[in-house]
């Protein structure tokens, strides 16, 4: 761990999650246990007994999607206030060796705590106090606003975070996802404690939440503890508001930013399937084949044509009401325009690529070809294996799935991935990358030197 900083799903963690190998995942039937408390709180318990740790992640169906122009930044500010200014035994967290953190995303607000398993009871009680017993002193809010504004300043100075935030705002323009999850400076500055508390009362209810507990415990005992701690929360009768699906722009959008940097940064975004869309599995494999793992197709093509390219990465962001496929490139600034053209050209042609050896009729060509499909599927298996090692990552994935999944029978993740064929990749590429509604954001060194 290099820095303690809160992380923001999608925007805040963008450079990090581009590097993360794991696709969205969640765990297993055995030895996990899913229960729904009388008050509506959804809970998943999963034993991971290799280390004496317990990880508790609680998510709420609340994100920047639930904000308006007048409240843009409330969820982010609320998350800060809950984590650092609200109620609960703060000194106890440190005394028990607890790591606790939170994140705000387009769809969800997520809070996590991880500590030695001997203190599992403390972890649950702490989550309950901090999240559901929240109160806020207006003076504390004023102090935290300054911290949030500092965070915005850091984001704006960082070429990756600034580009990631901008590219998502552009690709979802006109939809609630088009608001920055960091929030609007003016809204944050004007926010009041009453306003935030009203937001909290509305959304931080047991029946708008899901919790996963992963770690070194016995499932039956943990279920008893969870019921004991959270069972007395009331059922609020929360009704989640259904939002419209994000609609593609219908036209390209280009944003050029300048900062005091030496490297060039390029972000490209395309509309992509939402979390529950049947195309999601194919998109995961496609993104893996094109832009992740070892020397994927996009990276190979870009590097073969432009030797100024340093780094290429691609991510697929699946939200409840839409999605985005995002490419991030680091390159020599003077060559950014050419790199942009080449990358777009490769992606536009992705609908006619041969991804599998079986695509070749000629046996010699088949022998010589690289099987991007097989490689992508293996990358996903590998990433899934790696994700199994991290308790917090597992718990976060369980929560995300409990809150976002609307499919009755979605099928087993790796089985679904295994069924994807080369034709599925071409169809998906043509459907999502072969259209004229992508977004380009570049960050280049300031012309004429420092301002």
């Amino acid at each position: 761990m290099t820095r303690f900083s809160r992380w923001i799903l999608a925007a805040g963690l963008f450079p990090a999650f581009l590097a993360l190998p794991a696709p969205p995942l969640a765990g297993a039937l055995d030895p996990g246990r899913y229960v729904v408390l009388e008050n509506g709180l959804r809970v998943f318990l999963y034993e991971k007994r290799d280390l004496p740790l317990v990880h508790v992640v609680t998510g709420f169906d609340l994100g920047s999607k639930n904000e308006t122009g007048e409240t843009n930044g409330f969820v982010h500010l609320l998350e800060h206030a809950i984590l650092f200014r609200g109620s609960g035994d703060r000194a106890g967290l440190r005394r028990h060796g607890a790591y606790f953190n939170g994140s705000t995303g387009q769809d969800l607000a997520v809070f996590e705590i991880s500590l030695p398993s001997a203190h599992a009871g403390f972890a649950l009680r702490s989550q309950k106090d901090i999240l559901f017993g929240f109160d806020l002193d207006p003076r504390e809010l004023e102090a935290e606003k300054e911290v949030v504004l500092e965070e915005l300043g850091e984001m704006e100075d960082d070429p990756d975070r600034a580009a990631a935030d901008r590219v998502l705002r552009e690709i979802f323009a006109g939809h609630p996802y088009g608001r920055s999850v960091y929030g609007d400076r003016g809204v944050i500055a004007a926010a009041t404690a009453e306003g935030l508390l009203a937001f909290h009362r509305r959304f931080f209810t047991a029946d708008n939440a899901a919790m996963a507990v992963v770690g070194d415990f016995e499932t039956g005992e943990m279920e008893r503890l969870v019921r004991e701690v959270f069972g007395d929360l009331p059922r609020a009768g929360h009704a989640a508001a259904a939002l419209p699906m994000a609609v593609p722009l219908g036209k390209d959008s280009v944003v050029r930013l300048e900062k005091d940097v030496t490297e060039g940064t390029l972000y490209l975004a395309f509309p992509a399937p939402d979390y529950n869309h049947p195309d999601g599995y194919a998109m995961r494999v496609l993104v893996e084949a094109l832009g992740r793992g070892i020397n994927p197709l996009l990276s190979a093509r870009l590097r073969s044509e432009r030797d100024t390219v340093q780094r290429v990465s691609m991510s697929y962001l699946e939200f409840r009401y839409g999605g985005a496929a995002v490419v991030a490139v680091k390159a020599v600034p003077s060559d950014l325009a050419a790199v942009e053209r080449t990358a777009l050209s490769v992606l536009k042609r992705a609908g006619s690529e041969n991804y599998s050896k079986k695509d070749f009729l000629d046996p010699v060509a088949e022998m010589a070809a690289f099987d991007f499909l097989e490689s992508a599927k293996n990358q996903i298996r590998f990433s899934s294996g790696q994700a199994e090692e991290s308790g917090l990552q597992l718990a976060g994935s369980f929560v995300r799935h409990m809150l976002l999944n609307t499919r009755e029978k979605p099928g087993r993740y790796l089985d679904e991935i295994g069924r994807i064929g080369s034709g599925d990749l071409r169809r998906t590429a043509a459907r999502y990358f072969g259209r004229a509604d992508h977004v380009v954001v570049t960050v280049a060194p300031r012309r004429g030197g420092p301002k």
Binding site: R3, S5, G27, A28, L29, R95, E146, N378, E389, R407
Partner: protein, 436 residues
């Protein structure tokens, strides 16, 4: 759980079931010696069907001669260059990842793969690493890559500050040399230098393996013996261990045209014995790790920053502790004063018992989380071996933290946080004097 919820659980998680196995738990790591004489530190861990293997060559940046900055990184990078495209493709298709690390005191080639593909992965990498193709063309290409990495490092204030601090404490040599080289050093380094560095470090008597896998130790040992038998049996390379020393000019300013300023202080620490390593970890935690740390009040109460943090770097000759915050440029002066005030109070008053106990709990739990993933654990096992702490320190750190007394930590703080030994660093907009 009712039948209804049980059935719903089955439907819900059927969707993303990955077929996780019940974690059988990791067994303690063991050190054995392969038939080739190369040591292997191995830990069996059934948490995932993934294997991580590192070939560790002690030396790293500490072994880089003056004026040849970047040589260790360049050499390690080239030792992974696979000339046979077909073999590269095989590894890619199996999702096998090869990467390299160039740390302060060691270089490592790391292989991460699905365990079912370990044999193929080691067969290819073994052949390459034991006999890399260090051609002039490849050296030139690798130099270009290093230049790009250097630019990325320069764009990140925390990375740029870290590099400048190490350069300051180690006089720009060895650990203090530029990780990715400088324009001049990369021009100066040629193929022969790379070959000589490789031949001095990647020898049977120096290198060792670290592996964490769900496979049984015999299988992994057998595959390593089969694949890495080609290292020459030259004399072991000497290991440098320079201690960090405060430079004559302890004020470093890196001007950037940004809205924000990075403000840091860095202190040299004694060489890492088991006890001193634990003391360093406690100090790092107490100062800058998370809410409740000493720096946290600069964020929570003084409203000076979003990022406040501390960072510890260990070398065989000593450690370096960096404490820093990032703030708006207009708050930079106030932030510097506040940061110095926090450090001075800690040095004067020491760490109260409650804070020490909390730091122990935080450091121990943080360490557990840090070793949860196999790749991170392999790096720690390798690092502890090279530092002389031994791989057993991964399990022993908690006990070492526990053994630290209040008196010991206060004496340590007083000694290491001496302001006259600190480097003061600022990365951000030029102050009025510089603007003139």
């Amino acid at each position: 759980m009712s039948l209804r919820t049980g059935r719903r659980a089955a439907l819900l998680f059927l969707g993303l079931g990955l077929g996780l196995r019940a974690a059988a738990g990791a067994v303690p790591p063991e050190r054995t010696v392969l038939a080739s004489g190369i040591p292997l530190v191995f830990q069996r861990d059934a948490a995932s069907a993934v294997t991580v293997v590192a070939l560790v060559a002690p030396g790293g940046r500490a072994a880089v001669p003056r004026g040849q900055d970047g040589l260790a990184t360049l050499t390690t990078r080239l030792s992974l260059e696979i000339p046979d495209e077909e073999k590269v493709r095989d590894l890619m298709a199996q999702a096998t990842r090869t990467s390299f690390v160039c740390a302060e005191d060691f270089s490592a080639v790391v292989v991460e793969c699905l365990s079912e593909n370990l044999e193929a992965a080691l067969k290819v990498t073994g052949r390459i690493v034991t006999s890399p193709l260090l051609s002039g063309l490849r050296v030139a290409r690798a130099k270009e890559l290093l230049s790009l990495y250097a630019r990325e490092e320069a764009d990140d204030p925390a990375s740029a500050a870290h590099a400048a601090v190490l350069a300051g404490f180690f006089g720009g040599v060895g650990v203090g040399s530029a990780l990715y080289g400088t324009e001049e050093s990369l021009k100066a380094v040629d193929r022969k230098d790379v070959q000589a560095f490789y031949r001095s470090r990647f020898v049977r008597s120096s290198v060792f393996f670290v592996a964490v896998s769900d496979l049984d130790p015999g299988t992994v040992r057998g595959l390593l013996e089969k694949s890495f038998s080609g290292f020459p049996a030259a004399a072991p390379a000497a290991l440098a261990a320079a201690a960090p020393e405060p430079p004559a000019d302890r004020d470093i300013r890196l001007n950037r045209d940004t809205e924000r300023a990075f403000i840091g202080r860095a202190f040299p620490l004694p060489a890492p014995s088991v006890r001193d390593h634990a003391l360093g970890a406690l100090l790092e935690t107490a100062i800058g790790r998370g809410p409740g740390s000493r720096l946290w009040r600069l964020r929570a109460e003084e409203r000076l920053a979003y990022t406040v943090d501390s960072r510890l770097t260990w070398t065989r000759g000593g450690g370096v502790l960096e404490v820093f915050l990032e703030t708006s440029a207009d708050k930079a002066g106030r932030a510097e004063e506040a940061l110095d005030g926090v450090l001075e109070r800690l040095r004067t008053d020491g760490l109260p018992a409650g804070e020490l106990e909390a730091a122990k709990a935080m450091a121990a739990a943080g360490h557990l989380r840090a070793v949860e993933g196999k790749a991170a654990r392999v790096r720690l096992l390798a690092g502890f071996e090279v530092l002389g702490l031994g791989f057993g320190h991964v399990a022993g750190l908690e006990g070492a933290l526990d053994a630290v007394s209040g008196e010991a930590v206060d004496a340590y703080i007083k000694s290491v946080l001496a302001p006259e030994r600190a480097i003061r660093i600022v990365v951000g907009p030029a102050g009025p004097a510089e603007r003139k």
